[in-house]
């Protein structure tokens, strides 16, 4: 009965979404306040219905209701509860429901935190989000119903793919979807502004915190996915340029560009048309990613089981949403004002240049991802575009972007001077070059790529430190007071930029200095890598909740002192009969030691792979810093409305007193 109720709630949600997508927008066009007023209550009902439906599906998983086809296909009675819940989004239908749920969360959040937005604007924003939801709910109900019954029911389910039975599955998809779907807010703001012709600085200020928040989620979501792949796939890779990874990376690149151009639009009224285009593109790329995963058009580890009928449906949806918005853009953009005047050398120019680089980078990832499809469609045969290509193309595009990151925040708005900038930054440049050459020489491997990577990272760090010291000097107040006096959004930028530097250091060092060995070991054998001794302590047979495993242990010593014990498992999941490797990792600030158990060989020996990965954790720590920077910017006074009003009152009061 419960699955039917969930299904019914979904049908009601579709009806509500249709109302949400029509009444408020028509009301805004006609100036009908009552119709516009429907937007907020409808957004709430929409959320409650989808949340209820989601709970029904989660309940079916928890209660092991194998008469529901989706539950039977994606779980098993031996599967631990936390993975049974995460299995809700482990397949196509349920992950779509998660998509819809998260969209309804963002919609209700906008309706709650948009009291200061004019009624017609708010009505249009919520209406656009309702229209997007209509598409997804319709798709779910017509071609991907998660509540479909299985007749006759089966006794037990087919189990969740063992690759997904990991804590990463609990956090990575919801986080990533919060980011993906979060760009729908910026998108809805942009479309509402285009519809209403209110494309001004206020629009930029409203959509900025939403965009930043979505970007924070996306950054952390991608980071979690990368970290998950690192320990789950058993060979220590952290980014594979897989088609679906690219599909999450493209919105990130465009979203990053959007955050920066929104800043210019808000502060200086410039780049309005460009900013709107980026807002449309960020969400369009999110939708494209959804399409790529579900259409079977591209082979990928992330791809769901496919069905061309579904592909045609999502493609039609894509054409309506993206095509419609780009047509609206083409119609309205020529009338958008150009905004403030600025010189060729100015902070605006540097930000715009960075935007161009990020956009070109996103387009290049798109070209690389879709190129095999283009050639195949034109009958030129099948090719593969993989990591060697992306590494070769991406680095030269990103290097100038990182270099500009050091200059942009220091340059003046409107009119900066190159000679002056050169004079101010010459020391930073010298220090960065020197460190980038000396450090690899000390570590024993200087290649152009290592040198370049470290130079860019140090360049960002040194210029940022210089910028901070400039901002904090010339005052006799205590340091803490001076730090507090600077807006948090500025500190957010500082930390996010330093995060990029930390990330770059991690990538450069791990690529340049990692080492690995593949050895044959019997218990008692010792292998050596990077100054550590790894003693093989043999393999034990263990049994997990739904798998059996061989667990191998390596005792790690350095100069006779025990450092850690690495245990790696070779699991066999009983229901799916799929083997999985669980790597043994000892993560640390300076380096990770990483071992994975291979195959049993003759005479009780095992093949074992051991990796030394210096500074690999910095990659994810850098991402966390970026996310934290974003959150710090969000906590800025400007966005805390009440506080802000109070501050203004205090200022006025003090003026009166003095």
């Amino acid at each position: 009965m419960i699955p039917e109720i969930g299904h019914f709630a979904l049908i009601l949600a579709l009806l509500v979404a249709i109302m949400l997508g029509s009444f408020p927008i028509i009301g805004a066009a006609r100036g009908n306040a009552v119709w516009m007023g429907f937007a907020r209550p409808l957004a709430h009902v929409h959320f409650y219905l989808i949340a209820f439906s989601f709970i029904c599906l989660a309940y079916a998983f928890a209660a092991m209701d194998y008469s529901v086809a989706y539950v039977a296909n994606n779980s098993n009675s031996q599967l631990p509860l936390q993975f049974r819940i995460a299995a809700v989004w482990g397949g196509h239908e349920g992950s779509l429901l998660l998509w819809a749920l998260i969209l309804s969360i963002w919609t209700v959040a906008v309706s709650l935190f948009s009291k200061h937005i004019p009624d017609d604007m708010r009505a249009r924003i919520l209406g656009v989000m309702g229209l997007v939801s209509v598409g997804f709910l319709l798709f779910m109900l017509m071609a991907s119903n998660p509540f479909e019954r299985l007749i006759p029911a089966v006794l037990d389910g087919r189990d969740l793919n063992p690759l997904l039975q990991d804590p990463g599955m609990i956090f990575h998809p919801p986080m990533l979807y919060m980011g993906y779907v979060g760009f729908s807010v910026a998108f809805a703001f942009a479309i509402a502004a285009l519809l209403g012709g209110q494309l001004d600085a206020a629009w930029a200020r409203w959509s900025r915190p939403w965009t930043t928040l979505a970007w924070v989620f996306l950054t952390l979501g991608i980071m979690l996915g990368s970290n998950w792949a690192y320990y789950e796939l058993g060979w220590g890779g952290w980014w594979f340029w897989d088609a679906v990874e690219n599909a999450s990376f493209m919105p990130w690149l465009v979203g990053t560009a959007l955050i920066h151009s929104l800043a210019v639009t808000e502060k200086r009224g410039s780049f309005k048309a460009w900013t709107v285009l980026l807002a449309i593109c960020a969400f369009s790329l999110s939708l494209l990613g959804t399409f790529l995963v579900r259409s079977g058009i591209i082979t990928s580890v992330h791809a769901f089981a496919t069905d061309p009928r579904r592909g045609v449906f999502i493609l039609a949806f894509l054409v309506i949403v993206i095509g419609g918005s780009l047509a609206l853009f083409a119609w309205r953009a020529p009338a958008i004002g150009r905004g403030g005047k600025f010189n060729v050398v100015s902070r605006e120019s540097f930000l715009l240049a960075n935007n161009v680089l990020l956009a070109v980078a996103a387009l290049s990832v798109l070209i690389g991802t879709l190129y095999p499809l283009f050639l195949d469609a034109l009958g030129f045969g099948k090719i593969s575009v993989g990591p060697p290509y992306f590494d070769a193309v991406f680095a030269p595009l990103m290097a100038p972007a990182l270099f500009l990151m050091g200059i942009g925040p220091i340059a003046r708005w409107k009119n900066a001077s190159l000679p002056e900038l050169a004079k101010r930054l010459r020391w930073a440049f010298g220090i960065s070059i020197a460190t980038a050459i000396i450090l690899p020489l000390i570590l024993g491997n200087l290649t152009p790529m290592i040198g370049l990577g470290l130079f860019l990272a140090f360049w960002i760090i040194v210029t940022t430190v210089y910028m901070v010291s400039q901002r904090l000097r010339d005052s006799d107040q205590a340091l803490l007071t001076r730090i507090k006096a600077v807006p948090r959004s500025w500190w957010g930028m500082v930390i996010a930029h330093l995060g990029i530097a930390v990330f770059t250091i991690g990538v450069t060092i791990v690529k340049g200095f990692e080492s690995e060995i593949a050895v044959r070991m019997v218990p008692g054998d010792v292998a050596h890598l990077a100054g550590f001794d790894f003693t093989f302590e043999g393999v034990k047979e263990i049994t997990g909740p739904n798998y059996s495993a061989s667990k191998g242990q390596l005792r790690v010593t350095k100069n006779g002192v025990e450092r850690t014990v690495l245990s790696s498992e070779k699991r066999l999941y009983t229901v799916t009969n799929m083997p999985m490797t669980e790597a043994g990792i000892s993560p640390a600030f300076i380096h990770d030691l990483y071992a994975s158990l291979g195959e049993p060989l003759s005479d009780g020996a095992w093949s074992v792979r051991i990796y030394h990965k210096p500074m690999v954790e910095w990659i994810w720590f850098g991402c966390i810093m970026m996310g934290f920077g974003g959150l710090l910017a969000l906590s800025d006074k400007r966005y805390r409305i009440k506080k802000r009003a109070k501050n203004l009152a205090e200022i006025n009061l003090s003026k009166v007193e003095s």
Partner: protein
Amino acid sequence: MNRGMRALIPLAVFLVVVGFLFKGLFLNPKEVPSPLVGKPAPQFSLPRLDNPETVFSPKEMLGQVWMLNAWASWCPSCVEEHPILVSLAKTGLVPLIGLDYKDTQLEAQQWLEKGGNPYAVTVMDADGRVGIDYGVYGVPETYVIDKAGVIVYKQIGPVTVEALRDTIIPLVKKLQSQ
């Protein structure tokens, strides 16, 4: 280009991409066409399954149209394909040569006893090297080879009734009449 025209660029790019995506929905990204089509079939000489003392080589088939079918007793989709091959063999239209890929002699022989033997000759490719020369990446795979010993067609995955009726038999007949 004026502003109005420039504002249309994103839409134009998007529509081109959509065209390709639509076409892509009807392509199979997993199927990798063989570069060997149009090239001479690689030579080999492998022991026969029925009599490992004697060897078979594609040279023996020069002058006639024939089919090479890579199969294995451990391969699930071969079960699906096998009866179709058996009925093809009964028509006597075209000689089928079996390439028993990475299999053991005993299991292969049992398989043929059980399901019937459609092959004129079966050879054993125990270490899969000939399979690599033919670009086999997942059994079953089937090659149609012409009188001059050139590969004309490759069927990836099981030979289905449709593939046989619509593609393979007309092709074989055409090649035989040449």
